[in-house]
Amino acid sequence: MKRLFTAPTRIAFIFALTLLLLPATHAATSKSVSSAAAEESIRLGFYAGARREWSRDDVRGTFDLWALELAKKFQVPVQIIHYDDTVEMRQDFLAGKIDGISADAITLVRQYKLEDLAEGYATIMKGGWNLMLFSSKASGVNNLADLAGKRIVLLEEDQAGELYLETLCLRHHQRPCREVFSDIQRVSTSNQALMRVFFGKADLAQVYGYGHDVAVEMNPQLGQSIRKLTEFPLRSLFFAFYSTRVDAALRQRTVRIMRTLHTYPRGRQLLDIFKIDRLDIAYPTELQPVIELEREYQRLRSQIERKDRRR
C-alpha cells in the first residue's frame, strides 16, 4: 500500500481535522449549542512532524478547505495553526494562544503536564496499537535473551517503538540497542518490516498490532513464519487534547459527537482518507503506561551509565 503520510503525521492530521470539524458538527445538532459555539473561537495547534517530504501547502490547503466549508455551514470560527516545532507549540499552548493540541504520545508525555490537559480523542485502529516484537522462526531467536547480534527492522519516526526497544535492550541485555543488534534497519510500514523478516533480510521486526494483522491478512504464510517475543499494551499512540481552559460543556458536547464520527458519511470520508477506523474519547490518564515506560527507560539508562562510569 502506498503511504502518503507516515503514521504519526497522519494521526496528527486526522486529529486536527477532527477538532476542526467538531464545533461545526456540534452546531448542526443543537441550536442552543450552535449559538454558544458561534460566540467562541477555537484555535487548534497542529504539529506537522519531523518529516518534510510532503508539502505543507497541501496540508494547509486541505485544512483550510475543511475549515472554510464547515465555518460557512455552521458559522463557527475555526483557526488552524501549523507548527514545525513542538516546543513552540507547547509555549503557545501554555500561553493560551491555542485551545487544543494534536501530537503523538511520546511528545505529549515529554512536553506536557497531565494536569494541563483535558479530555480529547484517541485514534482507534482495528488490530490495536500494541507494540509487538517478532522474530523469524528460521532465525533461532526464541526469547528476548537471543537478541544479541541479530538484525532488526524498526518503523521510521517511531519514538514510542524506539523507547520500548531501548528499554527492552537495557532491561535484558544492559546495553543500548545499537550495541545489542548487529544491524538496525528502518522502514516506513509494519508490512514492510515483517516482509523483510519473511524474506530473510532481517531476524526481528517491531511493529504495531494493526500492522501485524494487516500483513498476516495479506499473506498467511507470513504469520506462520514468525514468532512473537513480547508485546507492550497501548490503547493508542496519537491523541488530541483540549486545554483545561476550554469550557467543559463545549468539550463534553464535542466529545459525544466525536465518537459518532465514523457513523455518518462525512465523518467516514474523513477517516478513510487516513485509514483510521474510528475516533474515541480519551483522557490524559491514558498516557500513564507511556509515562511509566519513559521512567523505566530513564532509570535503566541511568543505571547503565553509572555502571559504565564505575568501569
Binding site: 514492510q192 516482509m195 523483510r196 524474506f199 533480510k201 495479506m218 499473506n219 498467511p220 504464510q221
Partner: protein, 533 residues
C-alpha cells in the same frame, strides 16, 4: 354525427403505402444493425489495444522500479511495490512474478503469497515471448492476461504475468451494445412516424391518381385530380388530367362516329336487303352474260379458225391457181401464134378442169373438216390428228416445217370431233408460230401419242421459243397472247383448255423443254368406241 377527425384514415388502404413503409423501415433498420455489426469489432479491437497499452506500461513500470530489488533478491520491496501498484490501479487484479530461480510471487489486491516455481502456471515459452489474451477467470467472468519476459541487460531473469480486470472493458462493450440497441430502438421508433409520413407523402398522390384512373376506367370521364407539386408526380397529375380530357373528347367523337356508322349500317342493310331480293335475277343475268361471253369467245374462235382455214385454202389454192394461169397464158399464146388447135384446146381445157376440180375438192375437204357438228360421238384419234395435219400441210411445207406424227391407229376418243380438230389445229398453229419466231434452221413439230391404261397421253412438242416461266400462269387466260399485234387473238389456248377439260373431261398442261415447249393432253379412252371399231 361523426366528428371530422374520426373520418381521417390513419392507415391508407393501398398496398404501395405498406410496401414503401416496409422497405423504408427495413432499409433503415438494416443499415443501423449493419453499422452496429461493423463498429463492434472495431471498438472491441480498440479497447483491446487500450488494455495492451496499459499492460505494457504497467509491466515496464513495475520492472523498472523493481529491477534493483529483483537483482538483489529484495522480494519484500517487490511485493510492497506491487501492492502499491495494485492499490493505485484498480484495474489490475493480480501480478505473478516467476524468477528463473527461487520462489514465485503471486500478488493480488486481497494479499500475496509465495509459490514454488513449479507451481506457477507459466509455460517455458513465456520466458521468451510476450503474449496476451482474454482468459476465463476461475471466479467467473474474464480477465485480460498479459505475460512478458523480465530481462536485465539481455539476461532473462524471469517472467511477469499481470491479470487485468475486464469489467471496464466488458462494461464498455456492454455499453456499446446498449448504445447500438438504443440506436436501433430509436431508429425503430423514428421509423414509425418518419416512415409513415414519408410513405404517405410518396404514395398518397399515386393512390389518388390510381383511384381517379379507376373512376375513369368505370366511365367517369369528368374525373379531375388536384395535386399541386413541382415534381414528376405533379407532371403526372397534369398529364393525367389532360389525358382524361382528351379521352372525353375522343369518346364524344367516337360516339358521333358510331352514330354515323349506325346510319350507314342501316343504309347498307337496307341496300343488302334490296340486293338479296334481286340476287337471283342478278345471278341469272350474270350467268347469261357469261354464256354470252362464252358464245362470243366461241364465235371469235370460229372466226379465228375460219381465218386459219382461209389461209390454208389460200396455200392449197396457190399452186393450182398458178397452173391455171399458165394454162390460160398457153391458150393465149397459142391463139396469138395460131398454134391453138382443137386438140390442144381440149387438152388444156381438161387440164384446167382438173385444176378447178382439185380446188373444189379442197373446199369440200375444208368444209367437211370444219363442219360444225354439235353432237358428241366416238372418233378415231389418228384420223382426227391426220386431218388437221392435212389442212396445215401446205402451210408447213411453205415454211419448211417438219411435222412428225407418231400415233397408234386404234385409239378411239369420245367427244365432238370438230372441237377436238379445233384443239389440234390451235396447238399446231401455236407450234408453227413458235418455231417460226425462233428462226430454227430445222423447225420441227412432233405429235406423240401413247396409251396409258384407260387414258391416252397426247404430247405436242416443238423446238420453238418455249414458254417463259414468268408468264406460265397467264397463258390459259383469255385474250392473253405473246404474238405481235394483229397476229393473235389470245383465245386459242383458252378455248383449247376449256374443250379438253370441260367438254372432254381431260387435262391439259403446258411445260417448257430444253428447246421449245410441250403441251400434254390427258384424255380418257372411249371403251365404247373400241367395241364399235
Amino acid at each position: 354525427m361523426t366528428p371530422p377527425w374520426l373520418s381521417i384514415r390513419l392507415l391508407p388502404a393501398n398496398r404501395m403505402f405498406f410496401r414503401v413503409f416496409g422497405v423504408f423501415g427495413s432499409l433503415l433498420l438494416a443499415m443501423t444493425i449493419l453499422y452496429g455489426l461493423l463498429i463492434i469489432p472495431l471498438q472491441r479491437d480498440s479497447l483491446l489495444k487500450v488494455l495492451y497499452s496499459q499492460a505494457t506500461t504497467v509491466s515496464r513500470s513495475i520492472i523498472q522500479a523493481s529491477s534493483d530489488a529483483m537483482l538483489t533478491d529484495d522480494f519484500g520491496f517487490v511485493v510492497e511495490h506491487n501492492l502499491q501498484v495494485l492499490q493505485n490501479n484498480k484495474s489490475i487484479q493480480s501480478v505473478l512474478i516467476v524468477p528463473r530461480r527461487g520462489s514465485a510471487l503471486s500478488i493480488s489486491t486481497s494479499g500475496w503469497e509465495m509459490l514454488k516455481t513449479t507451481e506457477a502456471p507459466i509455460n517455458p515459452a513465456d520466458y521468451d515471448i510476450e503474449s496476451y489474451d482474454i482468459v476465463d477467470a476461475p471466479e467467473g467472468g474474464t480477465r485480460y492476461r498479459y505475460i512478458t519476459p523480465i530481462r536485465f541487460s539481455g539476461v532473462s531473469w524471469g517472467v511477469m504475468r499481470i491479470d487485468f480486470d475486464t469489467s471496464e472493458y466488458e462494461a464498455n462493450i456492454n455499453e456499446m451494445y446498449q448504445q447500438i440497441a438504443y440506436i436501433s430502438l430509436f431508429t425503430l421508433l423514428a421509423i414509425l412516424p418518419i416512415g409513415y409520413f414519408f410513405a404517405l407523402w410518396l404514395t398518397r398522390p399515386i393512390a389518388t391518381i390510381s383511384q381517379a384512373a379507376s373512376r375513369v376506367a368505370s366511365g367517369e370521364l369528368d374525373t379531375h385530380v388536384e395535386i399541386k407539386r413541382n415534381d414528376e408526380i405533379g407532371d403526372l397529375s397534369h398529364s393525367f388530367n389532360q389525358m382524361v380530357q382528351a379521352l372525353a373528347e375522343n369518346r364524344r367523337k367516337l360516339e358521333n362516329v358510331n352514330l354515323d356508322l349506325e346510319i350507314k349500317v342501316t343504309e347498307r342493310t337496307q341496300a343488302l336487303d334490296e340486293l338479296n331480293r334481286t340476287l337471283d335475277q342478278r345471278v341469272r343475268d350474270e350467268i347469261s352474260k357469261r354464256k354470252e361471253q362464252e358464245q362470243l369467245l366461241i364465235h371469235q374462235s370460229r372466226l379465228a379458225a375460219m381465218g386459219e382455214m382461209i389461209g390454208a385454202i389460200a396455200h392449197q389454192w396457190r399452186q393450182p391457181l398458178n397452173a391455171l394461169s399458165l394454162v390460160l397464158q398457153n391458150i393465149h399464146m397459142q391463139y396469138r401464134t395460131g398454134q391453138l388447135t382443137e386438140e390442144s384446146m381440149r387438152t388444156m381445157q381438161e387440164k384446167a378442169q382438173q385444176l378447178i376440180q382439185r380446188m373444189s375438192q379442197t373446199i369440200d375437204e375444208f368444209r367437211n373438216f370444219f363442219q360444225p357438228g354439235k353432237h358428241a360421238e366416238t372418233f378415231n384419234l389418228q384420223h382426227a390428228i391426220q386431218a388437221a395435219a392435212d389442212i396445215l400441210e401446205g402451210m408447213f411445207k411453205n415454211h419448211n416445217i417438219e411435222l412428225r406424227i407418231d400415233c397408234p391407229a386404234d385409239i378411239q376418243l369420245y367427244g365432238v370431233p370438230g372441237e377436238f380438230s379445233q384443239v389440234i389445229l390451235n396447238l399446231l398453229g401455236n407450234a408453227r408460230d413458235a418455231v417460226l419466231s425462233a428462226n430454227q434452221p430445222q423447225p420441227t413439230i412432233r405429235i406423240h401419242v401413247k396409251s396409258m391404261g384407260a387414258q391416252v397421253c397426247i404430247d405436242v412438242e416443238d423446238n420453238g421459243t418455249g414458254i417463259d416461266a414468268n408468264i406460265m400462269h397467264k397463258i390459259y387466260e383469255p385474250y392473253f397472247t405473246t404474238k405481235e399485234e394483229g397476229k393473235g387473238t389470245g383465245i386459242g389456248l383458252y378455248m383449247t383448255k376449256m374443250i379438253i377439260e370441260n367438254n372432254m373431261h381431260g387435262h391439259l398442261a403446258a411445260s417448257s423443254l430444253e428447246q421449245g415447249a410441250r403441251i400434254r393432253i390427258m384424255l380418257p379412252i372411249s371403251t365404247e368406241a373400241v367395241s364399235a371399231a
